[in-house]
């Protein structure tokens, strides 16, 4: 398959590109296996695929760059007619930054911590002699304004650690755009961001790209995001193009079976009724796990209270066999809550009850049986599995430890558990590094299951996974819930995932529970203003969604400021579109229950009716 269109007007032409890895003393491994596509002026081309598809490698080729260990092995990359594989070092340096600019996934890592932002933003333009330092600084300030960055006159004088992640991401866009490149390469620029931030950044990118008229390559695995920004989509798998076409066509009418599969894995927008909620079922006398009035944080202050409080007065109940989704942005304390439950972080106030009896706050003091019943599944399977232990040992250890299973019996049991998480038995002899991301996450789950727990604490278990893989893991979790009857605490920043899996949802903001209740109730009015913002921020898989959403007042409110945990008042006060000056910032909001009777609570100064509810009862 070759792209036959070959107008010289193309900003970038990639013909039959091949890139291979050349490991030390081993035969080369092809990574990109003959990829062709063009980028026209002003066009945004999305490269979409899972990890391992070669999308980042291809995008970097536009800068004539390969990651260490990788080498060009064929084809050509023509940037405005110049072959980036062949140009001299001198010329390559000139082209980079001036004609083609790169935006990386994590701005926090790609900004040099030791240099001021302004210097880094203008560096390329000044170095290449495109403009004077003054002109570049001025241009940068214009871009800061265009990107809606706060304090545009002075932000350049700050160091990277002094601004927030979302701001850094936009600053990186400024860095790429400052010398007016004809091609921008954006490598998953919003993946690491919270949804509310992502929408901001997307909006800013889109606006600036349009204004500047530059072409762009947009690399991502998130089709919903792509739909908002791309004109043309290239679907990649295993270093080959599966399908390419206009964004409209790919989104609405995918041809290739891989593309179809990709589309199928995209989580629908979070609306009520997605999941197979079991609200009301399974209710017994005693909840499996209960968190009462917990306050927790890090460091030890003089009065026994934590130096930095992360959670304040949190109450959560996990009924037997239920899935409780905990949702919130990064830094809201959702992982901390799970750590408090597991005893990894002792709460400074309040208590954790298992089957009705209070657990000691710290894991050190808890009994082995209690530990066994509450299992923690870590977010990153990469770091949660000891790289030096075999899968069999990893899964077998809880069996040995809690249930004293040994020898042949142990091996049998490990096999059974591997089977439960849909992994072949031969994996028992492998090391984590030999597994893919999804497989590792399954092992991570299997280890927790091996303990035969009552409650499984899943901390962002799908966040690091690609769409398809993540969807598969959710399927697996559903199966497990049905098969084993354990309760789940499912922590995620992704409302869609929670919507499709949880029975109940707890919405955390800045360490406080702002809303909780059965999933369908939470996802339908009345909403806490923050929940409303969250729901509105989840991108939908249709072209034009971004523009529509940006009109709504929820999105306008979403401009990310620093999230701070306040001692008094509502933490969402400064972002809230319906905030009451003088009340919300001074008084801790009351807990209101809506009249549905399903146990749907909202913490807000506004009445339930004001929040879209049919009526309200006074707080208990």
């Amino acid at each position: 398959m070759t792209d036959t269109s070959n107008e010289p007007a193309n900003v970038l032409e990639v013909h039959d590109l091949m890139i291979e890895a050349r490991p030390h003393g081993a035969p080369p491994i092809p990574i990109v296996k003959g990829v062709s596509f063009d980028v026209k002026p002003g066009q945004v081309v999305a490269l979409i695929g899972e990890s391992g598809s070669g999308k980042t490698t291809i995008s970097l080729a536009a800068l004539g760059y390969t990651k260490p260990g990788l080498h060009f092995s064929g084809g050509e990359v023509l940037l405005q007619g110049e072959d980036m594989e062949l140009v001299s070092d001198e010329r390559k340096r000139q082209l980079r930054g001036e004609n083609v600019a790169y935006l990386a996934q994590s701005a926090a890592a790609t900004f040099n911590p030791a240099l001021k932002i302004g210097e880094q933003v203008t560096e390329s333009a000044v170095l290449h002699g495109a403009m004077t330092q003054e002109a570049a600084t001025q241009r940068a300030e214009e871009l800061y304004r265009a990107l809606e960055l706060p304090d545009p006159d002075r932000i350049g004088g700050r160091y990277p650690h002094q601004v927030s992640g979302g701001q850094l991401q936009r600053l990186m866009a400024a860095m790429a755009l400052v010398s007016r490149p004809s091609l921008l390469v954006l490598d998953e620029p919003t993946t690491a961001l919270d949804v509310t931030t992502q929408i901001e950044v997307l909006k800013a990118f889109k606006k600036v790209i349009q204004e500047e008229g530059s072409a762009a390559i947009y690399v991502t695995h998130d089709l919903a995001v792509v739909a908002q920004i791309a004109d043309h989509i290239v679907v990649l798998y295993g270093g080959k193009v599966m399908e390419q076409g206009s964004a409209e066509q790919i989104v609405t009418n995918p041809q290739h079976s891989y593309t179809k599969r990709l589309m199928a894995a995209v989580r629908p927008s979070p609306v009520a009724g997605l999941g197979d909620s079991m609200a009301g079922d399974h209710l017994r006398d005693v909840p499996a796990l209960e968190v009462r009035d917990v306050t927790a944080g890090y460091g030890k202050g003089a009065d026994g209270k934590p130096l930095i409080t992360v959670l304040r007065d949190v109450n959560v109940t996990i009924e037997r066999g239920h899935v409780v989704g905990i949702i919130g942005e990064s830094g809201c304390g959702k992982s901390t809550l799970a750590r408090v439950m597991a005893g990894l972080l002792p709460a400074s106030e309040g208590e954790v009850l298992l089957d009705g009896h209070a657990l000691p706050p710290s894991v050190k003091e808890r009994k082995r049986e209690d530990l066994q019943l509450v299992q923690f599944v870590f977010q990153m399977a990469d770091t949660a599995l000891n790289p030096k232990q075999r899968i069999g040992d990893i899964i077998g250890r809880p069996l040995q430890f809690y249930h004293n299973v040994h020898g042949r019996e142990l091996r049998e049991e490990v096999r059974r558990i591997l089977d439960l998480v849909e992994l072949p038995a031969v994996f028992a002899d492998r090391f984590p590094a030999e597994l893919s991301g999804g497989q590792k996450q399954r092992v991570n789950l299997a280890r927790a299951l091996a303990a035969r727990p009552e409650v499984l604490l899943c901390d962002e278990v799908t966040s690091a996974l690609d769409t398809i893989v993540g969807a598969n893991v959710i399927e697996l979790l559903k199966n497990l819930r049905d098969k084993t009857g354990v309760s789940f605490v499912f922590i995620s920043h992704d409302l869609s995932t929670v919507a499709s899996f949880a029975d109940e949802v707890v919405v955390l903001y800045a360490g406080r529970v702002v809303e909780k209740g059965p999933v369908d109730q939470v996802l339908s009015p009345p909403f806490h203003p923050y929940t409303r913002l969250l729901i509105a921020s989840v991108p939908e898989l249709r072209v034009g969604w971004l523009e529509e959403t940006m009109q709504t007042r929820e999105a306008l409110a979403g401009i990310a400021r620093g999230v701070t945990l306040t001692d008094v008042g509502c933490p969402f006060f400064d972002r809230c579109p319906v905030a009451i000056e003088g009340t919300c910032d001074k008084l801790t909001p009351p807990t209101r229950e809506d009249q549905s009777g399903h146990g749907h609570y909202i913490e807000c100064h506004r009445e339930v009716v004001e929040l879209g509810g049919a009526g309200a009862t006074a707080p208990a």
Partner: protein
């Protein structure tokens, strides 16, 4: 935040000095034989020994000796040499200038040299220049320093007669004449410490070089020189300053071999002589000087790396 950290480091440094003083005192107590014995040597008789011991205060219990010593130390009194009867401060005074001079000259030459060569090697990793620098420094690290010294003496002083073989300064020489006289020990030490510093500079830079922001700089078309000097060096300052501090401490205290071979009267050789003559006050004083030098240098390096970290210098 930054000043808190700096103050904390200084506090730790003071605690460390106290631990060091205990360690030094304990170590000097385990030395067998005493100054009286050593001083009288083959001709010792029991009476002369007893007389000399009483004279030197060696008959008092160890804790009295420690308290007396530490008290005097704090008031700046280093005591009297057990061996010759001279004050320790005069013995040290005779030498400290030499040590400081040598350390200063070697540092002035070696530090810029090492940083430049380390940077050059890091700038062209795997290329010929880098290979020459890395293998050269490796070869020099691998050979005992006394071998390097004797080799230089034989070649440059004995064979070619370019420079003197002993570092004998009368104290009246001009600055340049002093440098000439000290050329060989300076050369040897520059070789010995530079080899290490070059390698550490290179390693420090290359360590930083795997950061995403370096890749970003490459992708921005930033030239090699600027990547190294502006992007990498700033972030590698901590480890580089640390290795410089360690080498300075070595120059003050660890150059016994060089001082012996070149007959250069510095502090390290004084300490060795002190141990050999069981001149406990001298050993203790030298020990405290060496350890304090180390503590202070490391402290400076720590503070420098705290200062070079914008996260600490400009808190949010």
């Amino acid at each position: 935040m930054m000043w808190n950290m700096v103050l904390r480091r200084i506090g730790v440094g003071i605690v460390l000095l106290w631990v060091v003083s205990v360690l030094i005192f304990a170590l000097t107590q385990i030395l067998p034989g005493d100054a009286a014995q050593i001083r009288l040597g083959q001709q010792a008789t029991p009476e002369s020994l007893a007389a000399l011991r009483k004279d030197l205060g060696l008959d008092k219990p160890w804790y009295i000796q420690y308290v007396t010593w530490i008290g005097n130390l704090i008031t700046g009194d280093l005591g009297i040499s057990n061996a010759g009867g001279a004050t320790i401060s005069s013995l040290i005074g005779n030498r400290i200038g030499n040590t400081v001079f040598m350390t200063a000259i070697v540092t002035l030459i070696a530090v810029p040299l090492s940083v430049v060569l380390g940077l050059l090697a890091a700038m062209y990793p795997g290329r010929l220049l880098d290979r020459i620098i890395t293998s050269g420094t490796l070869g020099l690290i691998a050979v005992p320093d006394f071998f390097v010294a004797i080799f230089l003496i034989l070649f440059l002083a004995v064979q070619l007669g370019l420079v003197p073989a002993v570092s004998y300064l009368s104290g009246t020489e001009s600055f340049w004449k002093s440098i000439y006289v000290l050329a060989l020990p300076i050369g040897t030490l520059v070789i010995v410490v530079s080899a290490q510093m070059i390698r550490m500079t290179r390693a420090g830079i290359l360590n930083v070089m795997s950061s995403p922001y370096i890749e970003m700089a490459i992708l921005k078309g930033v030239p090699r020189k600027r990547i190294i000097l502006r992007h990498a060096l700033f972030n590698a300052i901590g480890p580089i300053v640390n290795v410089i501090a360690l080498n300075l401490a070595y120059l003050v205290s660890g150059v016994v071999v060089i001082e012996t071979i070149f007959a250069y009267p510095g502090l390290a050789k004084l300490m060795v002589d002190g141990v050999q003559t069981r001149d406990i006050p001298l050993v203790q004083a030298c020990g405290m000087i060496f350890c304090s030098t180390y503590v202070v240098l490391i402290l400076i390096a720590d503070i420098a790396s705290i200062m070079s970290n914008p996260r600490l210098r400009h808190p949010k």
